[in-house]
């Protein structure tokens, strides 16, 4: 992750995090981070179709994925699930609660909700439950596999 960010020359800040407080709501509450400045990375997996497809979705913690109207169509399948802990680890090398959208396998599409791009800076998972990553979301415009998607998420 650090190598990717250094290679892109994109400024970032690493924040230490108690692993037991890594889940977004608890993290924001404990560390005084505005939930509107915190983004989750949700790995979704197709449950139908000939081959399993995955996508990493980045959305503000104040929003939820619009699976029925957007995600399913983009993935081109009828049924979708939250990727299991085992799938998440196998695909990303990371555990749920610590997934960062930085340095994911190149074959894994990253869909970023438009709202994320409107923030000055966001806090993301840092690759494990000990670390969070703070950076300007303009980074996603520079990641080849990332796509900014309007309406990917809706407010809770």
């Amino acid at each position: 992750m650090r190598e990717t960010l250094d290679a892109l020359g994109h400024p970032f800040e690493l924040m230490d995090c108690d692993p037991s407080l890594a889940d977004t709501d608890v993290f924001c509450d404990h560390y005084g981070v505005d939930p509107w400045d915190s983004a989750n990375t949700i790995l979704v997996a197709s449950k139908s179709g000939p081959e399993q497809r995955f996508a990493a979705c980045v959305l503000l913690s104040t929003t939820k994925l619009d699976v029925n109207k957007v995600v399913r169509k983009r993935l081109g399948v009828r049924r979708i699930s939250f990727a299991s802990a085992e799938q998440t680890e196998a695909l990303t090398g990371m555990i749920i609660g610590g997934v960062t959208p930085i340095a994911l396998p190149p074959s894994l599409p990253i869909w970023v909700d438009q709202r994320v791009m409107q923030r000055e800076a966001i806090v993301l998972g840092g690759g494990d439950r000990h670390t969070k990553l703070k950076l300007a979301p303009s980074l996603f415009s520079r990641l080849e596999q990332a796509e900014i998607v309007e309406g990917l998420a809706i407010e809770r």
Binding site: K64, L65, D66, V67, N68, K69, V71, R72, R78, R79, I80, S81, F82, R156
Partner: protein, 194 residues
């Protein structure tokens, strides 16, 4: 005349008979959640339900806390529209305390008979699941309230209402209390033919 459900419970009952007689719908649960492994084992057994044409029409959605609270809030919204804010607040509090959430859906079909048979198969699958969990000391409440037919419910569980129908929302966990109920006697429900 009805009798308590356990009135025929005898020492000679098989394990299956004891399970069938003793399982009850659990309305109140202890706060601690049941292990996920038990749920996965129950789903594994659920899929062995009788199923005409082996269509395997069932799908199981194991809900996390974010989805569960979303459903509790949607239900409260429906209750408020019908019965007012106090009833809604009470429902929200009750639903928010449910320790485990599972939704079972059934594939839709253009063939009415197949859809009916598939629904029946899903009901049998749910019963399989409930019996296994009961044997493991875990109770279930199968609810079919209005919330499961609300289009927003499908959005919350990531299910496509054009291809699946919700059969039930199941809460599971360790029983706070096991209710006693009565059933009709066999004579009352049996018709014998020549």
């Amino acid at each position: 005349m009805s009798a308590p459900a356990t009135s025929l419970d005898t020492e000679s009952d098989s394990i299956a008979a004891r399970l069938l007689r003793s399982r009850r719908t659990i309305h109140d649960f202890k706060p601690e959640p049941a292990p996920r492994e038990k749920l996965l084992a129950a789903i594994d057994l659920a899929r062995w339900a009788p199923n005409h044409h082996a269509t395997e029409p069932w799908h199981f959605y194991l809900l996390g806390p974010e989805t569960a609270i979303g459903i509790a809030e949607l239900n409260a919204e429906l209750v408020e529209a019908k019965s007012g804010p106090e009833a809604a607040a009470a429902k929200l509090e009750r639903w928010s305390a449910m320790p485990g959430w599972l939704v079972v859906t059934c594939d839709k079909s253009d063939d009415d008979l197949r859809e009916r048979e598939d629904y029946a198969a899903c009901a049998c699958a749910i019963h399989n699941l409930m019996l296994y969990l009961w044997d493991e000391g875990i109770g279930v409440k199968w609810t079919t309230g209005a919330v499961i037919r609300d289009p927003r419910f499908y959005d919350l569980i990531w299910a496509d209402p054009e291809v699946e129908e919700v059969v039930g929302l199941l809460w599971y966990g360790y029983a706070e209390e096991v209710p006693m109920i009565r059933r009709k006697e066999v004579d009352e429900i049996l018709v014998s033919l020549p």
